[in-house]
């Protein structure tokens, strides 16, 4: 199903992809400093939304993804600050930790179904977040951790500068997307899809469901942790407020509004919704209401999300093109 709609996007071959990529490479040299920082947040959020979609393909709409993002941030930041681990090694280690924590949270809940599962993941996520809040040593309590090391200078390029870090995070995002894309197209990805469509049928064909669910949690958690590492070494600080339920709601909004049926949905969701988020800064007080409403309306009237709308529009255009010559 997904490969079918992917083909629709390949109109004109790779040209649009190359166009977007070269645009992304040129953009930081022309934008204001603030907008480059905003662009980096897009990359981080796209990693988050994409990795969340991987878990959603197994139909586990868990609510701890943002906390795993936090686990990555805390782990990477603390490794670099307290143990002197090089930043570029600390980021994947933070990812590994997040993947492990994701598995540890899911493991006791594997037998819990539907509602119970979603709510229990929310509860255990709060448990982790409150741990950061409660223990001032070593997590810094509500003020969090500051003075987290910046990335080093490598081969004359200072990665703590804005533009090098922009390219670093762009590179990481592309790498993550490539890996997630390959996973989705692999046998494992097919098994994930089979589980989400019909768990009983999937089990009867010999797919080990608990193992695949854990695998999805580990892979998705790893990438969420990597996103956290990217964040923390740019901000230089981290605190528990960054990872509360509000952030989780925004993640859900990106993924739901964008659509989860294909690989491109979360990217569309982050691009559209985070742009609206940035543009609506003057309306900061009523902004959450707009986002909440938009999610409710999309769920009711546009179940496939924006991605579904676009692929429907593309399909209709193609149909018209095909019909048009016959009519003339």
């Amino acid at each position: 199903m997904s490969s079918h709609s992917l083909k629709k996007y390949k109109i004109g071959g790779l040209a649009p992809l190359i166009l977007v990529l070269s645009g992304l490479c040129l953009v930081p040299f022309f934008l204001r400093a603030y907008l480059v920082e905003v662009a980096m947040m897009y990359f981080i959020y796209i990693i988050l939304a994409q990795s969340y979609r991987l878990i959603v393909t197994v139909h586990d709409w868990q609510l701890y993804h943002i906390v795993l993002y936090g686990v990555g941030a805390y782990t990477s930041g603390m490794l670099a600050k307290n143990l002197g681990v090089p930043v570029f090694a600390a980021i994947p280690l933070g990812g590994a930790m997040a993947g492990l924590v994701g598995m540890a949270i899911t493991l006791p809940l594997l037998r819990t179904k539907g509602w119970g599962f979603y709510i229990a993941t929310y509860g255990l996520a709060e448990l982790i977040r409150l741990t950061w809040l409660k223990f001032r040593n070593p997590f810094g309590g509500s003020t969090g951790i500051i003075d987290i090391p910046w990335p080093p200078v490598i081969a004359g390029i200072d990665f703590s500068d804005r533009i090098p870090y922009y390219f670093f995070s762009l590179g990481v995002m592309l790498l993550v997307m490539l890996m997630l894309y390959r996973i989705e197209k692999s046998r494992i990805g097919d098994s994930f899809k089979a589980i989400s469509m019909d768990p009983e049928l999937a089990a009867s064909t010999g797919i080990n469901i608990p193992r695949h669910r854990l695998m999805a949690c580990a892979i998705g958690g790893f990438f969420a942790g990597v996103a956290g590492g990217l964040l923390v070494h740019r901000l230089g600080a981290v605190d528990p407020k960054l990872f509360n339920i509000t952030t989780t709601l925004y993640l859900l909004i990106w993924v739901v509004v964008g659509g989860t049926n294909t690989f491109w949905g979360p990217i569309i969701g982050v691009s559209v919704m985070h742009t609206l988020f940035e543009l609506s800064r003057p309306l900061i007080e009523i902004r959450p209401m707009f986002f909440g409403l938009s999610m409710v309306l999309v769920l009711i009237f546009l179940p496939g999300g924006l991605e579904g709308l676009i692929s429907k529009a593309v399909a209709r255009l193609q149909k018209r093109d095909r019909v048009a010559p016959v009519e003339t």
């Binding site: 006791p108 119970g116 229990a120 409150l130 709601l249 986002f291 179940p303």
Partner: protein, 289 residues
């Protein structure tokens, strides 16, 4: 722990159990009938509290009229949410759940814009008296919720067992298709369930409004304990929710008194994880009432 503090804490724990039970029973009833849980349920509670704030503290209505209004407001919001969100999404569990997450934002902003953000709203207590017992003083206002919780939950259980309408609710919860074949109007039953859920949350919010610090984010704080209670009790089980409400009312109150509020939530979540690891369906399974 001195005996004075112990008695006070026990009284507080019973009151907290009553409040949690009132919130959780509605949540679990709505889940049982619709197979959909409502993340914005805590915000129903918050709306009830603000109703009492607006009518009693600001508008000068008698306290009990304001509480009655809070019940009505809760029921109406429940009906609106059922009609506007759950009915169009019928059968789509994940979408319903995420849509109510979006709803949390909507309620919070509405209340914040109307009555102001951040600062908690003080509501004068209508009853200044306190029970004195073995040297401990227990504020009348604080334990007010207990008789209401007992009567309304007992009443609901009786209603579900003895009344045609209540039995119809249970039938829908057990098997919607079979219930529909018996001529039960499912839409009316889900509307009824959501109205009851909203009314109970509104009642709890109204009664507790003089105790709690009222802020627009109150709903977000109360929903986690309520969800834990529902999950541990067994989703859809009213008896289970009541039992779990008592357990967590005591656990949370005692840990809060002895250590602090953050630890109380952490302990509750851990208890929940242990229960679910051993009994994934919760203490009292899935069968309603």
């Amino acid at each position: 722990m001195s005996s004075q503090l112990l008695i006070q804490t026990i009284a507080n724990a019973i009151a907290a159990s009553g409040m949690l039970a009132l919130i959780a029973v509605g949540l679990t009833l709505a889940f049982g009938v619709m197979q959909m849980a409502n993340l914005a349920h805590g915000h129903f509670f918050m709306m009830g509290a603000y109703t009492v704030y607006a009518l009693y503290a600001l508008g000068g209505w008698p306290f009990w009229w304001a509480v009655a209004a809070a019940v009505a407001v809760g029921a109406v919001i429940g009906l609106i949410v059922e009609r506007g969100i759950f009915r169009p999404l019928q059968g789509d569990v994940v979408s319903g759940f995420i849509a109510t997450a979006g709803l949390m934002f909507v309620f919070e902003v509405l209340v914040g814009e109307i009555w102001g953000w951040g600062l908690s709203r003080p509501i004068p207590s209508p009853y200044m008296r306190a029970f004195r017992f073995m040297g401990a003083a227990v504020a009348f206002q604080r334990v007010l919720v207990i008789p209401f919780a007992i009567v309304s939950i007992g009443g609901l259980m009786f209603f579900m067992r003895r009344f045609r309408l209540g039995r119809a609710l249970r039938a829908v919860a057990q098997d919607p298709e079979a219930a529909a074949l018996q001529g039960i109007n499912i839409n009316r039953m889900t509307a009824l369930a959501m109205a009851i859920a909203g009314a109970y949350a509104g009642l709890a919010g109204g009664l507790m409004s003089t105790i709690y610090a009222i802020t627009p984010s109150l709903g977000g704080h109360i929903i986690l304990p309520a969800l834990i209670v529902v999950v541990v009790g067994g989703m859809g089980s009213i008896g289970g929710a009541t039992l779990a409400a008592v357990i967590f009312g005591f656990v949370m109150t005692f840990v809060t008194t002895l250590v602090d509020g953050v630890t109380a939530v952490m302990v509750s979540v851990t208890v929940m994880a242990v229960v679910l690891a051993i009994r994934p369906q919760g203490l009292m399974g899935r069968v309603i009432a």
